[in-house]
Symmetry: C2
Subunit: 305 residues, 2 copies
């Protein structure tokens, strides 16, 4: 099953040089999530041929305009495209009021239902969970209440070892094996030990989106050893004072968080418009954490099974 | 002096095929106006190298999302670009509340002042006027309170006829001639008759923006004989029932308004996403009003002096 992160925007507060503000489209185990939804997000979804109508959950990290101002346009487009399914929106306090007010003045009733989920500032909490995937918030440190999102696959079933498998097992028995159980005979004696017929489960993949935040080591424990970490990197180290003033991170700080949390890959984004050329940016990151990538528009990062 | 209309968006409610929703940038006599400001308007201003910081007046026709959802992002970008000048925003009731609420939740105080001007539904009124230009509303007929905008140069000064001009006239005397006055001697006798030394003023140019509206002949009197008329043309005549249902115009209806009002040129836009190919659209218009143009992204229409 796929686990893919597609970047819709890599820019900080102001769009620049074709770079758009924050939004990411995530596909994981047939779930489709949007994380942040800046102005132009719907245009990017169209441009990169992503299926906006499949999105059932939208996670907004905080209420700075460059993280949510594309939401209202997307909601109207989904309406005009005759969406019927419920849409879940997760955000800190205020977004429901903003959406409701704009619907009121446009005299529009959407032909689908929006279900708002209000995030708790400063608190790690599970906000979405189904059989395969869970999403929890990552409390960040910014000028506004701001949460990152950690998307994790749940523990997977053990894999049947086809070479060792006796013939004529029932589906019920196969499911028991996948769930880690031994197979018993009618009176309760072990027919087959589970570890003889199965292999360990595939690993559960994980992605963390950390936007916007000043350097904040509290997040490290929660994101340790994940597969892919996105961390904002608005400024270069030479502008560290500007980063602190605006409660953002430098590239070096983002890479330092990665160095300490040890994801397989680090993605950086939310670049200030002062940097036209991003080569020095990626260089600054790689000096601290080698396996870093620029999270640029249209790039898809796949986490292999 | 320039009178130029640059199209930022030609699409109806949903962006499609690279067509963006409504926004236009107008330069007239060193005044810079934005009319409507859909999602992506700031991107288009950047793309076409237009000077967003020069815009002091933004006119929003109505509060459907495809006509104003780019405003908040533009306001933040102007703020981050350190705008200081007052910004005037003209809209029907609600937009001030929408902006104020979003500023509240972003905990942002803009470093310039916004001055709201609330339009009166159904009433023609002058909303902006300076020495050279005036803007008045055009009441339209749509699902929401909706106004078009008529931009007119004021009566211009008479032109000095250099071939007939005596030497050694003072600046004061030249200004009197431009204002249409005769030149008198000290006791009040006519020294020079105005019509001997001046030529008629250059004509006052005019542009009308009519969006969104069903076919509405009431507007014709107000826009008669203007230079350029923009009229929405959301649907083709074959979808006239859809046009009526959604309170929009067909291409043929837009052209019929032009035929009756006799502007020099007609621009049409706000095209439904159902029409990928716009050749049949322009054909339908030209059958009724020959001098019609598609108002496409990046096109600039200049009204010559």
């Amino acid at each position: 099953m796929a686990f893919k992160i597609t970047i819709l925007g890599s820019s900080g507060a102001v769009p620049a040089y074709g770079r758009m503000p924050s939004a990411q489209f995530i596909e994981v185990e047939n779930n489709y999530f949007l994380i942040d939804c800046a102005e132009g997000a719907q245009l990017q979804l169209m441009k990169f041929d992503l299926h906006m109508h499949r999105i059932d959950h939208i996670f907004i990290s905080h209420l700075h305009g460059d993280h949510y101002l594309g939401l209202m346009g997307l909601l109207f487009t989904l309406h005009l495209n005759k969406r019927k399914n419920d849409l879940h929106i997760y955000s800190h306090k205020g977004l429901d009021e903003i959406i409701t007010l704009q619907l009121k003045y446009s005299k529009s009733a959407l032909n689908y239902k929006i279900i708002f989920h209000q995030l708790t500032p400063g608190k790690k909490e599970v906000i979405f969970e189904n059989k395969f995937v869970m999403v929890e918030t990552i409390p960040l440190l910014h000028k506004l209440d701001c949460s990152g999102f950690l998307i994790r696959e749940k523990q997977k079933p053990r894999r049947i070892d086809k070479e060792m498998l006796p013939q004529n097992l029932s589906i019920l028995q196969l499911n028991k094996l996948k769930a880690g159980e031994d197979l018993l005979d009618e009176v309760g004696n072990v027919l087959y030990r589970n570890d003889k017929l199965t292999l360990p489960p595939r690993k559960s993949r994980s992605y963390a989106y950390c936007s916007d935040t000043q350097y904040f080591e509290d997040i490290i424990e929660q994101i340790r050893d994940i597969d892919v970490l996105y961390h904002e990197a608005t400024f270069m180290e030479e502008d560290a004072d500007k980063a602190l003033e605006t409660r953002h991170s430098t590239v070096k700080q983002a890479a330092t968080i990665a160095m300490k949390a040890q994801p397989t890959r680090l993605l950086i984004g939310h670049f200030s418009a002062r940097y036209k050329d991003l080569l020095p940016v990626i260089d600054e990151a790689k000096r601290v954490f080698q396996n870093t990538y620029l999270a640029l528009e249209g790039e898809t990062f796949t986490i292999e099974d």
